[in-house]
Symmetry: C2
Subunit: 227 residues, 2 copies
DNA sequence: CGGAATCCTCTTCGATACTG
DNA sequence: CAGTATCGAAGAGGATTCCG
């Protein structure tokens, strides 16, 4: 029995929004679903520390509010998956603005759980609109497969590999993190990551991504905070 | 003793952002500060139900992270006020995107606490960039003074009255709420609100505001949710 | 094996009371 | 006015158990 969930009861769009997406774990759960449909267990893996009970409660809440849909996959994959509805996907502006604001905290972090795709989502969120000719690229980071798709006006990071990617970048998450957050003098090139396929295309994409992240991280008025 | 605040400990800009602004009440507190500097007691009034202990904890947290600054006002006003730092003010994109997304929930609400300025913030957040010639306007709603300033590319709602406003709109919050959310056939005019000063200017501004709110509320894929 | 419900402990919240 | 102290209630975190 969850009882009535806590609400603000204010006639204010921010308060009404937070009644739906303001609970702990909710926006991170939505971050996971922006990377593609997920099973319950996938979500547990993508939200370290969440606890199955809280996750089930959040999923039910989001389903009731029409942000998430539960769907049974047809054969040959007898799995129950969760995915964003159009209303849920319309949170992209919210998720992007939070990711851009939070990018200022990315450099210099230690002792945090890391996932390749989180870093790719950060890079995609902070990137400028792609110049013509920039190509979608696959990534295998710490053995985890994901990709960055180059769309019309923005980049998007999702799970899995594309069949039509221009190149595949391989390495560890620390490798890419170092490449992205270390302000080497001039152009550090690829650092320790390796490339299959069109190396030029991968270099160009990475350069575009790193420039965007640095710009977002610096526009944070570089407050180092936390006495 | 608060102990260590709970953190996600993920190398992800969204998780790092939510470690700072994700706690209950925090974004609503920031909403209040976007309307101008506030004393502790003002904030309590603007956050019905918060409890002074939680408010003090949130303010300390935001101060430590460099989003909020505490300042002692000089004579003749021996008051301690809280205000946003530049880093705190850089949350405007986050607050705006949440307000726009949440605007879909505004129509048809009942039994909620209402404040004139919250509604003005909602209208300012969802409004399109102002056309040239649109003028700043004062509002007195349920006796509470606030205003909407017409800026370069956006509107902003704050507390208090401007000395150089084009007009003053007077009425109750339900009056303005009805005017804003009731899709009357064609143009409902001013409804029950009254205008001092340039009536044409006030009508134009209100028309602009209402159009923006309706557009934002409808782009929400009108899911009525919550069984 | 995936998808939870249950149980237990700990933290946080909300409300009231109290203090410099 | 600007908070701190306190306390019952609600929520989160973690492990285990259950069910199809």
């Amino acid at each position: 029995m969850a009882g009535e969930p806590r609400r603000y009861r204010e006639l204010c769009p921010i308060a009404l929004a937070l009644d739906v997406i303001g609970d702990r774990w909710t926006l991170l759960l939505i971050r996971e679903l922006f990377a593609g449909p997920k099973r319950f267990t996938d979500l547990e893996q993508g939200l370290p520390g969440v606890g199955s009970s809280v996750l089930a409660t959040r999923l039910r809440h989001l389903e009731q509010h029409g942000l998430v849909r539960r769907r049974r996959l047809p054969r040959p994959a007898p799995a129950l998956i969760y995915e964003l509805t159009p209303r849920g996907a319309s949170l992209d502006a919210v998720v992007l603005s939070i990711a851009r604001w939070g990018a200022a905290y990315l450099p210099g972090q230690q002792d945090l759980v890391s996932r390749g795709r989180w870093l790719l989502q950060a890079l995609a969120a902070t990137a400028d609109p792609p110049p013509p000719g920039l190509g979608s690229t696959n990534f295998v980071l710490d053995g985890e497969e994901s990709h960055i798709r180059v769309g019309h006006r923005r980049l998007a990071a999702r799970d899995g590999l594309l069949t039509d990617a221009r190149a595949t970048v391989r390495g560890t998450v620390p490798d890419l993190y170092t490449l992205a957050t270390t302000s080497g003098t001039g152009e550090p090139g690829l650092g320790r990551v390796a490339v299959d396929g069109d190396r030029r295309a991968a270099e160009w994409l990475l350069k575009h991504l790193v420039a965007g992240l640095r710009s977002a991280a610096n526009s944070g008025t570089s407050t180092k905070e936390h006495a």
